[in-house]
Symmetry: C2
Subunit: 352 residues, 2 copies
C-alpha cells in the first residue's frame, strides 16, 4: 500500500536501540518491558508506520489454530447442509489463513445435545467459535464461558438480543425479508385479496424462531398495500407428506378463491407435490432459501421466487472474520452484517 519500502521489526529495533525481542514483546504486549522502552517502541512504530508481515508471522507461529463451527446437524437437503458446505469453501480458499476448521453438530430439537456440543467445543480449546444460536438461553450461557476464556465468537443466522460481546454477526434482516417476500408474492400489485401462509408447527419452545419476524414484515407490507387481504393460516408438520397433502386438499376446498401461497421457512418444497398436482398459472408461490429441492421447484415454475440468504456464505464470512481477528487481530469493519437478500427466479437460478 505505502510506496515506502517495507519496514521490519528489525528496523524498529535498530531505530530504538533495543532488540527485536523487546519490540516483539511490546507488539504482543506480553509484558517484561519497561514503560520507557514501551513508549519509545510505540513511538517509532507510529512514526515509521510499521505493519507486521503476515506471512512471516504465520510461518513462525507454526501449528495452525482451530475455529469451531457449532450448527445444527445437517441432514441431507436441509438448510444446515448448505451452511456446512460453506466450511469446505472456507477451508480451501486462502482467506482463512491456513486456520483449521472443525464442525460441531447438535440436534436442533434437543437442547441436551446442544449443551453437549458446547462442552465438546470447549474441550477442543478453539481459538474462535462460530455459532448458530437456536437456543437463546443456552447460547448465552455458552458465550459467557467463551468470553471468560477470551475466545472470540461470531453468530450466524440469528443473534441473541442481549449479547453484545460477540465479534460479529452475519445474517439476514428478517423483518425486511418478510417485507420483500410480500412484494414478490404480490408482484408489487395493490389490493391482492387472498393469501395462504403455510406454517410449520413448532412444538419445542425456547427456540428463537426467525419466521416470527419474517411474518411480521410480511403482514405489515400487506397491511400497507392490500389492507383488506385475508391471510389464511395452515399448519403442517414436517416428515408427513401425506398429512400435508391432505391438509392442503381440504383447505383449498374450503377456500377455492385463494391463489397465492407463501412459507416463511426453508421448507416450501414440502408443499410442492400438492401444488404440482393442482397447477394454476396465476398462482404465485414464494419461499425462502436455496435448498436443492426448492431450486428444482423453482426451475419447474412451481415456485415463483425464492429469497435466499446463502448460509454457506455466512459461514465462510464468519470463519474468515475470525481468522483475521485471531491471526492478525483485525476487527471486522462492522459488527452486524446483514447480508444481501437474493431474489431467485427460474430465470436467474442457473447462475448463482
Amino acid at each position: 500500500m505505502a510506496p515506502t519500502e517495507k519496514i521490519t521489526i528489525n528496523d524498529i529495533a535498530r531505530r530504538t536501540g533495543l532488540s527485536k525481542g523487546t519490540v516483539d514483546r511490546v507488539l504482543h504486549n506480553r509484558g517484561e518491558v519497561s514503560k520507557k522502552s514501551y513508549a519509545k517502541v510505540m513511538e517509532v512504530i507510529q512514526e515509521l508506520g510499521y505493519e507486521p508481515n503476515v506471512y512471516a508471522s504465520l510461518l513462525a507461529k507454526g501449528g495452525s489454530q482451530l475455529v469451531a463451527v457449532l450448527i445444527p446437524s445437517h441432514e441431507p437437503g436441509s438448510f444446515w447442509e448448505l451452511a456446512a458446505s460453506g466450511i469446505e469453501k472456507a477451508a480451501e480458499g486462502p482467506g482463512t489463513l491456513g486456520i483449521r476448521i472443525e464442525l460441531f453438530e447438535y440436534d436442533q430439537y434437543d437442547i441436551d445435545s446442544f449443551r453437549d456440543a458446547c462442552s465438546r467445543v470447549l474441550e477442543a480449546r478453539p481459538a474462535g467459535v462460530v455459532v448458530a444460536p437456536l437456543f437463546q438461553e443456552e447460547t448465552l450461557a455458552f458465550t459467557g464461558k467463551l468470553k471468560g476464556q477470551g475466545i472470540p465468537y461470531v453468530f450466524i443466522d440469528s443473534k441473541p438480543e442481549s449479547d453484545d460481546s460477540n465479534l460479529a454477526y452475519f445474517g439476514m434482516p428478517l423483518y425486511k425479508s418478510g417485507y420483500l417476500c410480500a412484494d414478490q408474492l404480490t408482484a408489487g400489485q395493490e389490493n391482492v385479496t387472498n393469501v395462504l401462509m403455510v406454517r410449520v408447527r413448532r412444538d419445542r419452545l425456547q427456540q428463537s424462531d426467525p419466521t416470527i419476524n419474517r411474518r411480521a414484515g410480511f403482514m405489515d407490507y400487506m397491511l400497507e398495500h392490500s389492507p383488506e387481504c385475508t391471510l389464511g393460516n395452515l399448519f403442517i408438520t414436517p416428515n408427513d407428506p401425506n398429512g400435508t397433502y391432505f391438509k392442503l386438499d381440504s383447505w383449498f376446498q374450503e377456500h377455492p378463491d385463494v391463489k397465492h401461497v407463501v412459507m416463511f421457512n426453508s421448507r416450501i418444497h414440502l408443499i410442492v407435490p400438492w401444488l404440482e398436482d393442482h397447477p394454476d398459472p396465476e398462482r404465485r408461490v414464494v419461499g425462502f432459501d436455496n435448498l436443492a429441492a426448492n431450486l428444482d421447484a423453482l426451475r419447474r415454475g412451481t415456485v415463483t421466487s425464492l429469497i435466499a440468504q446463502h448460509p454457506d456464505e455466512q459461514v465462510r464470512l464468519a470463519v474468515e472474520t475470525l481468522a483475521e481477528y485471531i491471526l492478525l487481530k483485525k476487527l471486522p469493519p462492522r459488527k452486524d452484517n446483514f447480508m444481501h437478500m437474493d431474489i431467485l427466479t427460474r430465470y436467474n437460478v442457473e447462475y448463482y
Copy 2:
C-alpha cells in the same frame, strides 16, 4: 485437510537422499536435475502427498508480484467506477496473498488510448493481467503478446469469442440477463401489449456491445410470453439531459398507451428525471447495474428493479484467481464463470 502432520521439503529431501536445494529445483522445474533424481523426487512427493507451505514460500520470495487491471476510465457514477472499487476490496483482503494491484485505465471511446494502456501494462512487467475487452481486435493483439510472454490473463465483463488461452472469465450471461429482464418488466404476466426500449446510440464501431445479446434475450422472452407486444425503440445520447427529456416527451405523446420502459445498459438513470415528472403507478421500469444514481431511483420507486452483476466482485474474483495461479499455480475450477444476476428491488436494495 489431511490429518497427517504436515510434511516439508526437508522430509522429501531426507526420504530421497537428496538435498532440499534439489527438491526445490524439481518443484519449480528449473532444470539442473538428472532424470533419475527428478523421478525419485516426484515419486516421493506423490507418496507423501506433499503440499508446499504458502506462507513460507511467500516470505522467501520477498518482493511482491504485480497484477495489472486494464479497464475503461472510471468517471464518477459510471459503471467502471464500480469495477475500480473492487480493486481496493481485493487489495485489503487476504485473498490476494499480498500481491500488488495496479490500475491501468483507457478511454472506452478511443482505441488509441487502449493501445497506449496496453503498452504501459507490458512495460510494467506484470505477473498477471485483468482485462475488460471492449475493443475486440486490439484485445486479441494484446493477449497474444501476453501469451507470448507467458503472462496469464483473465477477462471480466465480456470475452472475445476467439480467445481460448485465457485463464478465466468472469461475467454475466448476457442473453439470459435479457430474458430475466423481460420477466421482471412484465412481472411474469402474459400478453403485455406495449413496451418501450430506450437505447443509447453508439457511434463508434468495432466495440463489443453487451446490449445486443441482452436485447436478444429480452425479445425472445417477449415473443414467447407476449407475442403481439409491440416493442418501441427510442434512441438517446449520453450527456444530453435536455434532449433526452424532450425525446421522451414527444415519444410518449405519440404513444400514450405505452407503460413499461426498459434499458439494456447501466444508464437507466438518464431517463429518471422525465419519469419522475410523469409518474404512473402502473408503469414498470427495469434497468441494469447498481450505479448509485440507479439505486437512488430504485429506492424512490421510480425504477422497479435493477439487474446487477456487481463488477467489483468480478474484479475481486479475477484478481484472486490470478493471485492463486501466480503464487500457488492453482488453476481455477472453471474457466467461464457466469456470475449470479442479482435482482434488486426497493425492498432488498439496502442490504446488498
